[in-house]
């Protein structure tokens, strides 16, 4: 689909084209142009039918909501994001519990700052590592399947 929405289109078509940007990029690149064209044709037909436009809009909205979620789920990205969020949080919680159960001497103020930085870097590294791991686990096999 072209990167800009033509200004001479009816408002319905412009809104629909804008909403198509919510689909995952790969699906959008492959089908958005066809979907926008089909929408225009279907709108013309619905306008001709009495009360057809309201039903048509409701059907298109339902179809859009259902399929945009499904297409994102297919990419595996929600699972990656979820794991990328859960793994570092769980690790930090575990570390905090361990530190509570073992006697640790409270560091002086300059050391506390250093500890905070180290913790922050650890969390960021964990997010990066888990994102890479999940990408390799979920996205890579899918690409291989598509290549076959």
């Amino acid at each position: 689909m072209s990167s800009t929405i033509p200004r001479n289109l009816p408002i319905d078509a412009r809104i629909y084209r804008a909403f198509l940007y919510l689909y995952p990029p790969q699906f959008r690149r492959e089908f958005a142009e066809e979907m926008a064209r089909d929408f225009n044709e279907a709108t013309s037909e619905a306008q001709a039918a009495r009360g057809g436009l309201v039903t048509f809009r409701a059907r298109i909205c339902a179809d859009f909501l259902k399929t945009v979620l499904f297409q994102w789920a297919r990419t595996g990205l929600p699972a990656i994001a979820l794991v990328a969020a859960i793994v570092p949080l769980y690790t930090v919680t575990l570390l905090a519990r361990l530190s509570q159960s073992t006697p640790v001497s409270i560091p002086t103020e300059p050391d506390a700052e250093m500890l905070a930085i180290v913790l922050l870097v650890t969390v960021v590294l964990l997010i990066v590592v888990s994102t890479i791991l999940m990408t390799v686990l979920f996205v890579h096999p899918r690409l291989k399947r598509r290549a076959r």
Partner: protein, 101 residues
């Protein structure tokens, strides 16, 4: 199955597939664009449907799709399965014989 059946007769573009599904089901099944192209994407990944290379003068902007050999075999297998199911239903008088086409 609806999409495969719509493509059984000839190659079609997306909107024509939607219209054909609607026609074959007497308007009971109306596929939205998201559902249709999501289905086409999966069918193409399965190797059951492929995009057709068409001459530019036919319709430059449309993309046409057709069944592959594997897709036709899958459709036949599914139709045979449904046919067997309907036969069982008829034997148990769950389906009226008047619906026989």
């Amino acid at each position: 199955v609806h999409v495969l059946l719509a493509l059984a007769g000839s190659e079609r573009h997306g909107y024509a597939i939607q219209k054909e599904v609607q026609r074959q089901t007497d308007g009971r099944v109306r596929m939205g664009p998201g559902t249709l192209y999501g289905t086409l994407q999966r069918l193409m990944e399965s190797g059951w449907v492929e995009e057709v290379e068409r001459a530019r003068d036919v319709d430059d902007r449309r993309r046409y799709y057709r069944l592959t050999k594997g897709g036709r075999e899958a459709l036949k297998a599914e139709m045979a399965r449904l046919d067997a199911l309907v036969k069982v239903a008829r034997a148990q008088r769950l389906v009226s014989d008047t619906t026989r086409g």
